[in-house]
């Protein structure tokens, strides 16, 4: 077993696991970061979306050996948090706040992946255009919202006057 070193939400981590172990399992089981969800295990639903070196990836399809030396961002890294503070008590970022305000999260299981896809879109300079937002989250399935309020939330966070 090799040790793999990478950054998760700014924190350096080192895990000694088989190289083909899924990043999803490393995050959830080895690092205890259960905010990233598993919906299908075959890259169809996007519930496990994380940002790897600026790109949205399905953590269920990425073996940890491909993450060595990389930078992974998960839902736990979005809110601005004081040391030792629980994520739920932290200050939500503008995207999370927009989801809360518009009703973009219902059952919440797709929400972490949806937030990461949206975060990558916004970080890449994405604006409030509805078509572009829909394109950006097309790999993330939601069964509760009809996507209406998710699109609204992302547009709001993008500074849109939607």
């Amino acid at each position: 077993m090799t040790a793999f070193r990478f950054l998760v939400n700014g924190d350096p981590v080192e895990v000694a696991v088989p190289g083909m172990r899924r990043l999803l399992d490393v995050l959830r089981e080895d690092l205890g970061l259960t905010g990233t969800k598993e919906g299908c295990g075959e890259g169809e639903c996007g519930a496990c979306s994380v940002i790897l070196d600026g790109e949205v990836v399905d953590a269920c399809l990425v073996p940890v050996c491909q993450v060595d030396g990389g930078y992974v961002r998960t839902v736990e890294g979005l809110a601005r948090r004081q040391a030792g503070e629980r994520a739920a008590d932290a200050e939500l970022d503008e995207l999370q706040a927009a989801f809360l305000r518009t009703g973009g999260a219902q059952c919440g299981i797709c929400t972490p992946g949806m937030l990461m896809a949206a975060r990558a879109y916004l970080d890449a300079g994405g604006g409030p255009d509805e078509g572009a937002i829909r394109e950006a989250i097309a790999g993330n399935l939601c069964r509760c919202t009809g996507y209406t309020k998710i699109v609204e939330a992302i547009a709001l966070a993008a500074g849109g006057d939607r």
Binding site: V75, A88, D89, L100, C107, G108, R143, Y147, E152
Partner: protein
Amino acid sequence: MTIRTEPRRSAPTTPARSAPDALVVEPGTLTSGRARTGPLRREGPAKLTGEAKYADDLVFPGAWYGATIRSAEPRARLIGLELDDGFDWSRVVVVTAADIPGVNIVSLISDDQPVLVPVGGEIRHHAEPLALVAAPDREVLRAARRAIVARTERLEPVFDPEASDHVFAHYEVATGDLDAGFATADLVVEGTYRVGHQEQLYIENNAIIAVPREDGGVTVTGSLQCPYYIHKALKRTLRLSDTQAHVVQAETGGGFGGKEEYPSIVALHAALLARACGKPVRMVYDRHEDLSATTKRHPAVVRHRTGVRRDGTLVAQDIEVVMDGGAYCTLTPVVLSRGALHAGGPYRCPNVRIRARATRTNTPPNGAFRGFGAPQVEFAAETQLNRVAEALAISPLEIRRRNVYRIGDATPTGQVLRESVAGEEVLLRAAEAAEFERERERTARARAHASAGGPDGPGGPGGPGGGGGASGRRVATGVGLALGWHGAGFTGSGEVHLASVASIELTGQGAIRILTGSTEMGQGTKTIFPQLVAAELGVTDEAVDIAPQDTAIVPDSGPTVASRTAMVVGGLLVKAARRLRATVEERNPGRSFAEAYADDAAVHGTTRIDQQFEPYPGVEFDDATYRGDAYPAFGWAACTARVEVDLDTGEVAVTDVVAADDIGRVIHPVLAEGQVEGGTLQAVGYATIEEIKLADGRYLNDRLATYIIPTALDAPVITAILVEAPFSGAPHGAKGVGELPMDVGAPAVVAAIHDAMGVWIHELPATPERILTALGVTGTGTVA
């Protein structure tokens, strides 16, 4: 009485901390004088930060992993289970039917479904549970699964519900004189409509963890809708007392009916394994197992014969409904009952006969899914009515205006609609917002232009329905309309039998706490309950806590199903809050509850109010004759859809939907809109792309790569319009919202496809294959 909500124009708020700030809805959008504001989703911050714990996120030290050994045949005799001698069985536990301490039955209505098929017993469907295995790690578990082989003797399966001679339930609802009605008809239209399975496709798969208790019982924690259904199942199959059987809901990632009954099976399996190995056992399905084994929406065949006068007045409806129950009864009789009661649609008709039956086939059991029998029959009823309108050359809007129920009308069960009737209102609101008649004229002009052989002729860039698509695609556009109704709460005397309890406690420490078994699975239960109670008590939303859905803590408030939570359980809480307020204010003369409750708690200790369901005044139903008030009230929904049909591929893009839903008094506009938008998209999926294909009783597309649901790109722009026709039987006037939008989306889409292409699709989903096939054949309707 109409609420029209527009997308809000506002900048991001100051980010919320653990107690979310109040949500401000733009003033002037509500006319009711209530609910201008609503609290933010209570568990929202936890869900948005990844802090919320769903079943598979929970850590149980030393837990083993459980798996289910399933049948590979649709029907067979189980001769035996062979354990491979080469495997070291001391490392795992295996559970068969012989190890079940109590009753080997999991049921809600009829005792026909085993928890595990016993040796010598009959396997009735593919993926049926035969045995269980648990192991300390996943690799050993995988090896153990491979080392168990079921020996079977194949029996002849039955797949056609119309040919099956095993009837789970049948109903007949009749009024007037059918023959006399048809005798007065100027026109008789017949039609046969078919719908297939639909998967709930909650994004979180079924998952339950069972932990043995020191008292010999078991605690199960998991993804579920109805804690007390599981509680009952555990007591029976594991022979446990009320306290030994302990059920806790984890954060639940969607249910839609799919976690109403099936989690009882998952929980029993996990609990049997935990009992066998003495360790916590995680039973977490992957998507493939969840799709292949768990319940779906019932397929149905619906036949209509409709008599109508020249002016569009309905005079006779003869309707036959056949539903496919699958291999076991589950909730089928109740699904069928709702289907029968909604089959005529929301229309006045003096002579009606509705005959409904559900039969057994050798396919996995079908069960609850949002709408619960109504989407199937309302697709048929609305498509039939659209075809009647076409035959009479009356607009779809006008034929509905002429026939829709108004106050004072009676339904086929003899139920007189005394109040809260808003069919016409939702119809007009949706049609107006979508500019339905103008759009129809536009698509009709485009069709006329096309058939005149212009450059945009049939197959030309504009297509029959007009409107050339972007990037050279040849598309036809069309608009469609549908109207529906949905009985609020349980059918018939269901609520009386449930006798639900909801409680509020003012603790000795001065905390106000809500105690109900109603689960949060995204609809907003945990937000609207404190909101309702706080409003009655005159305190802030944040001052009201809500207890976890844990059978050791909360009473049985009935299942979280049938769009009953806001109306029925919310109503109990409003009454309980009024009683609590009166009690405290009586003990503290001259002071309001808000001023007095902290001191009151210090002096009097805990005050608990248990509120039990009382029948709604004047609502009576006879289960034996199917006469009377089938529901205390109905919700009303109208939907318009705009589609683009690709002329080369037959693919349908639903571009815009307007959904107008009357839900009684709106408690929380944002959450209510969320229900309408989500339900509408599930209906659009049902109409266009969601389909289960079967071979030898097995679901072929049992993966997410092959069972397709709409993405953000497939989803139309959805405009939700909330209409308020309050129900006086509920103290807060609310009716249900969850299921209503599911009933009307599919027929609206199919009507829009007809408007675009000139063909009626009689079978859902309206796939490209079906549309292209229909273009080559004539309709099946007959005109007398």
